[in-house]
Amino acid sequence: MKYLIFFLALATQSALAKERVISAGGTLTEIIYALEKQNSLVAVDQSSMYPQQARQLPQVGYYRDLAAEGVLSMRPTTLLALEGAGREQALKQIEATGVKVIHYKKPTSVNELLELIKHLGSDLDANLKAQNLITKIKASLPTKAKTQTHNALFLLSANERGLVAAGQETVPNLLFNYAGITNIAATHTGFKAINSEVLAVNQPDFLVAPAHVVQSLGGKQAFCKQPTLRLLKAAQECQLLVMDSLLSLGMSPRIATAIQALHEYKTRL
């Protein structure tokens, strides 16, 4: 009998000592939802845009510049911080009040993404779910293409001020690699401006752009008709793949979907 009472007490204790988690980093938030641990989430940062439910939660600022008092006002037990979260001072203050701050490296490859999921799974006590998610992702990933069959260009912006393309060490570049597509802009690193004349000589087979950029320019046709893209055959024929912004710019558990979209598009060309 007393063991029953003991276990009941223990159960109630753990229910009372509920975890209150704040997530600072869009990638982390997405994985938390994928692991179905969103119930412990009390607040997120501004970059946590996926899934839609995450946007309903209170926001404590952009993950690189968190408001210390804002975070603490949510009375978290844990703060999950993606690499680059700050400011350093604020994190120190938060940790000083007893909040557990866990730092995670930003994933730059699929393997690192799976590592991240594994760590989160263990930190959130969701090892099984994490394992399942990893398996799911691995299974859904197409085999890395052995040969590069097409050229493409990922444009972050295309307007009167010029073109900004994704170079090496970006998520679009990673997606291209997986889908067997050569990145025309691989000559530079990060998101940088690229000379449209250079592109005229080295033409991409098709263009890729994030949805929010295409929308702000008034749709696919309007995007393709931009004067700065005039010299590109791909623009003239409007060979443009519009991708979900978060999916194409951040490492996400839905990465397979992104690669798939690219794969399908190039096959249908």
Binding site: G61, G70, A90, T97, K192
Partner: protein, 350 residues
């Protein structure tokens, strides 16, 4: 001295400095209660005193008291010091340049500090070291080196020519922002964000450690410029007259420049760029009690504190629990006010 003046700006200006000073102290007291009591982690004016004797205020838990002593109180102290320094250096720069439209950014100090700091951030990304920790020192060095450069270039035969000073400041501003633009181009995403947030100003980094580190510089600037207020005041009636009245204007100008650079450099290092305070606050003080620094300077400094406390409080409340950069609030408050002041007093600046 109590005076009732029929003034061209307003029908009647109660240019009684004591009255304005008392009013300002009252405002500061009220803002202290408000800003320490009300915030994301607690909404009660009693928090402003509860931290002194937490045992008697059982309605607040340890976390809230902690937030007050570790976050809100340092922020309050920082806002006070920054408000005092920005207002005073603004008034000093206006005396130095004999121009009511001058402020430290005009002679290039803020831009210089920003330029070195941004270069530092970009370098830190390249060579992989932690920028945030050493940033304050980089920014301060930037302020000081630009000031030395500006001083050397503006010197003509042992005298500092004010017009040259302003022109060099304009050039430095242009150079600094060009360099910042160039560096932003080569910076990666994280560095860019840091640059962005840093140029918008924030008191979010306030901590007792920071304040202890920066206090000597801030106090040096505050006390130094305060003690020079009588001779600085004479600069306002013209450099020759100041000289005839016995002021060593070369030395005075040198001291003022150094002290302004110290103060502004330290502030920029702690909080990033906060604009308009040095420009608008002295102007408002002047409208209240006249340009004589004996009356104007103390009031100006108190008004600076009020502006900072109010702006920081609003920055914390408007998008709670997130925060806006304080530079945005001071610009939103300051710019329209400034334009209004210019229009109302167009005849002043002939």
């Amino acid at each position: 001295m109590s005076t009732l003046t029929l003034n061209r700006f307003n029908a009647i200006t109660l240019s009684n400095p004591h009255k304005w000073m008392l009013l300002s102290y009252g405002c500061i007291f009220a803002l202290a209660l408000l800003s320490i009591g009300y915030g994301a982690a607690g909404w009660d004016w009693r928090l402003a005193i509860a931290w002194l004797a937490p045992e008697h205020f059982s309605q607040f838990d340890a976390l809230q008291i902690n937030v007050v002593t570790q976050i809100r109180l340092p922020r309050f102290v920082l806002a006070v010091m920054v408000g005092l320094v920005l207002a005073q250096t603004g008034a000093a720069t206006q005396a130095l340049c004999r121009n009511p439209l001058a402020d430290p950014s005009i002679i290039g100090i803020s831009a210089g500090a920003a330029m070195v700091a941004v270069a530092f951030i970009a370098l830190s990304a390249q060579f992989n070291f932690n920028a945030q920790h050493y940033l304050p020192y980089a920014s301060f060095l930037g302020a000081l080196s630009v000031t030395s450069l500006v001083y050397l270039v503006s010197k003509q035969q042992k005298q500092i020519n004010i017009n040259t000073l302003i022109l060099v400041g304009v050039a430095i501003n242009a150079l600094a922002f060009a360099v910042i633009g160039l560096l932003s181009f080569y910076a990666d995403d994280s560095a860019l964000r840091l640059i962005n947030y840093w140029t918008m100003g924030s008191l979010g980094g306030a901590s007792w450690d920071n304040i202890k580190q920066a206090s000597p510089l801030l106090l040096l600037s505050l006390i130094g410029l305060w003690r020079l207020k009588e001779p600085m005041n004479l600069l306002l009636i013209g450099e020759s007259q100041a000289q005839y009245l016995g002021v060593d204007t070369s030395k005075l100008k040198l001291y003022v420049i150094i002290l302004v650079a110290l103060g502004v450099g330290a502030v920029v290092a702690l909080t990033g760029l906060i604009g308009f305070v040095g420009l608008v606050v002295p102007h408002i003080a002047r409208l209240m009690v006249g340009p004589h620094l004996r009356n104007m300077l103390p009031l100006c400094m108190l008004l600076g504190v009020i502006v900072l406390l109010l702006s920081d409080w609003l920055a914390r409340l408007v998008v709670m629990p997130a925060e806006l950069p304080i530079g945005i609030i001071t610009a939103l408050l300051g710019a329209p006010l400034f334009i209004y002041l210019i229009i109302k007093n167009k005849r002043d600046w002939s």
